[in-house]
Every structure is written in structure tokens, then in C-alpha cells.
Symmetry: C2
Subunit: 217 residues, 2 copies
DNA sequence: CCTTCGCGTTAACGGTGTTCACTAATCTAA
DNA sequence: TTAGATTAGTGAACACCGTTAACGCGAAGG
């Protein structure tokens, strides 16, 4: 494969994903269709099978791209905060919420229930889990830094240790992650609409409580 | 409309929803199709339009049924606990998790991202929000009982009061609800699979922390 | 130069939601 | 009892969808 055609192939892959994302944003995950994408690109649907084995594979690839996009956005605000590990975590959590609320359709794909045809793609799932893993790492890295400074409380949850993380960091991360996931996704998925029009105060209250739990217990 | 034919109509409605649920459980929300339902019932697809204006309306109706089913399950364990408001809340939270993990496809429908075609059904959304509201009420009712006994801490979140609930009850409920939603849905949607095979310990830890926050702060 | 291979096509199969015209049955009221 | 209105169903059709197969074209590589 020549270098020229390889770059052309990657450009086509990027265009496919870009058009797919337009449809995702316009009509939600279910309105991503090979035929519509091909139509927008001036092609026919079977041509897309030269690039993806199935529609699910395309959606999966798009999903991993979204994870890295979100990670980069959070890394940017992290690096914009001059110092203070907790302050960096705060900024990342707020950016996480901001990104999610600005991209509800993408969020449905990334953080909603799994699509039925996703779990059987072992290789694709690996790259997806890798992208998700690297997103989680930007949080655990800072928590490990807190841990090394001795500023993290010991937590009494009996959870299996994960990779090179100290057990208490794993436990504290999972507790913080699920709590963050709860406030943000409940809002993003519209499950607070019956009570709130703006969940900012609720989010900030949860963030403050999480910080308090992080400092001592 | 005679009484006989009305009961016959409701029986057909129930059968439609029962068959739809079978397909939901078998293949997820996207595999609910009018043609397949009609096929299983020995009918043709257009006949179902005598009962629902669209597929989305059917799914919406099924969804409200699921909310009341979940509520009844939680009410049952609540009434099985002899006394102790906090103990009842614990039992309801555990039953909520148990039901969700036992019914992942139904959970995707009820607590996942909103389906694109759902929000325009104003009447259907009313009945859905009503079912969801009554589910939330079984939790707020117990919290109001705690509030009347003076066992609830004052919480400092500035949130709009909801209906006849005291403001601190609204705030404490929303904080508890989003937290519960987070642990349970993150597990149910498979977003903890990379770290945990069994999230029971994490759930119990969160439940314990929530109870501590409820007792005093 | 010739061959392989990447990339695209058309045609086709089976599936989907939805609408329309129509029929058979049942319920209602004169 | 009989005429009319309502109900519940049918089949055909339209416009989509994912996917597969057979085929052509044009460029890359030996």
C-alpha cells in the first residue's frame, strides 16, 4: 500500500466519521445509517464496507474518537489550572459536565446503555476500552498524586485492586466516578427535568461533597 | 363502546405490550418492531395502528408500565420491612438495584438516554412523567417522614422547591437520587466492567455513605 | 506489460415504519 | 328488525434500512 493511497484512505475514514457524527448530532444514535452517510458523501452504501465491517463497527470507532476528544478537552482545562491537584480535579469535573451537556447525542453513545451489537467486537471493544481507560487515567493520575502526598483518606471498601493503583485510590476513584456519572448523566439524559431546569447548583453541591469526602473521612 | 368490546380492546393492548416486552428483553430497545409484534400475534402490522399512533407511542406506554412495575416492587419490600424509615429506604434502594440488574433491557428504556421520538408526545409524556413521579414519591414520602421527625439535616443547596416538599427534602432527595442513579446505572450499563465484576461492595459503600449524609452533616 | 488489489458500482434479499383503500363484523339506534 | 355507523382487521404500496454478491475500473507493483 502506497503512502499516498494510505493517506487518502484515512481521509475517507475521517470523512465517514465526520458525516456520521453530523447525523448523530442531528437525530440521535439511531439515525446513523450507512445509506445516509454514503448519500451525503456522494457514494453508495456498499462502498462503506471497504472501510468498516458493519454499521456497528463504524459507530464503535466513532465512539472511541469521542472518548479521546473528551479526554483532550479535560486535559486542556487541567493544564490551564496553574496548580493545586484538587483544583485541577474540580476543573476537569466541570469540563466533563460542560462537554456532556454540549454534546447530548455523543453522550448517549458513550455513557448510555450499550448498543446490542457492540459487545461482540472484541478488537473494537479493546480499542474502545483503551480510549475509555485513558480517559479514566487522567483522573486516577491526579488521585495517585494526592495519595503520594498522603492527602488521601484510607477508605474501607473491599474492592479488587486495579493494575498499579493503590487499593484506596481504586475505591475512592470508583466512588467518585459513579457519583459524578450520576449527577451528570441524570441531567444529560433528562431525568431531572421534572424537578429542575438548571442542575448547576445540584452539581456544585455534589462536587463540594465529593471534595470533602476526598479530603478526610 | 360496549363493555365487552372495551375489555377485549384492553386485552389486546396488554398482549401487544407483553409481546413487545419479550422482544425488548430478547434484543434490546431497538428490536421492538411493529411487524415482529404483529407477526407473533398472528396479525399484520397496520392493525397495530388501531391501538397506537406509532411505534414510539407503544414504547412510551410500555415504559410507563415498567415504571409502575418497578414502583410496586419497591413498595413491596418497603412494606415487608417492619419498621424504621431508614431501613425501609435501604431495602428500597437495594430492591431498585436488584430489579435494574435483573432487567437490563427495561432499564435502558427507562433510565437511559431519551429516545429521539419521545419528547413530542405531550400526552404520553405526561403519563410517563406521572409514572416516574409516583416512583419518586415512594422515596420522598419516607424522607418527609424523617423531616417531620426532625431527623433530617438542613442542607444548604439553593434549589427550587418542588410541590409540597420542604426545600431541604427536595435537595436531599435529588442528591441521594443522582447518587443512587450513578452507582446503579454505571453498573447496569456496563461502565464498570473494566474494573469490577461485582459492584455489590461499591454499592453498599455508597449506600452507607448516603445514609451517613442523611443522618447528619 | 501484465497482474493484483483497492475502491467503487448495480442488483438483490429481507427487514423496518407508515399510509391508504378496502372489507368484514359488530354495535347502535330508529 | 333493519339501516347506518363504528371497529378491527387485511393487502398493497412507498420509502427507508443493513448486508451480500457479482462485477468493473483504475492505479500500484513486480
Amino acid at each position: 500500500m502506497s503512502d499516498r493511497s494510505q493517506r487518502r484512505r484515512e481521509a475517507t475514514l475521517a470523512e465517514i466519521k465526520a458525516v456520521a457524527r453530523q447525523h448523530l448530532v442531528a437525530g440521535g444514535p439511531s439515525s446513523i445509517s450507512l445509506r445516509a452517510i454514503a448519500r451525503d458523501m456522494g457514494m453508495t452504501a456498499p462502498a462503506l464496507y471497504r472501510y468498516y465491517a458493519s454499521l456497528d463497527a463504524l459507530v464503535l470507532d466513532l465512539c472511541t474518537d469521542l472518548y479521546t476528544e473528551l479526554r483532550i478537552a479535560c486535559e486542556a482545562v487541567r493544564d490551564a489550572v496553574p496548580d493545586g491537584v484538587i483544583e485541577k480535579l474540580h476543573a476537569m469535573a466541570r469540563e466533563f459536565r460542560r462537554w456532556v451537556l454540549a454534546h447530548p447525542a455523543e453522550t448517549a453513545l458513550m455513557f448510555g446503555p450499550p448498543l446490542p451489537g457492540v459487545n461482540q467486537f472484541i478488537d473494537g471493544c479493546n480499542s474502545l476500552q483503551d480510549a475509555g481507560h485513558r480517559f479514566g487515567r487522567i483522573f486516577t493520575d491526579l488521585m495517585v498524586e494526592l495519595y503520594r502526598q498522603g492527602r488521601l483518606p484510607d477508605v474501607l471498601v473491599d474492592l479488587p485492586a486495579h493494575e498499579d493503583l493503590p487499593p484506596s485510590v481504586t475505591a475512592l476513584f470508583l466512588k467518585g466516578w459513579t457519583r459524578l456519572y450520576g449527577v451528570i448523566m441524570a441531567e444529560a439524559f433528562g431525568h431531572l427535568n421534572w424537578a429542575l431546569t438548571d442542575a448547576t447548583a445540584l452539581f456544585e453541591s455534589e462536587l463540594a461533597d465529593m471534595t470533602a469526602d476526598l479530603r478526610s473521612r
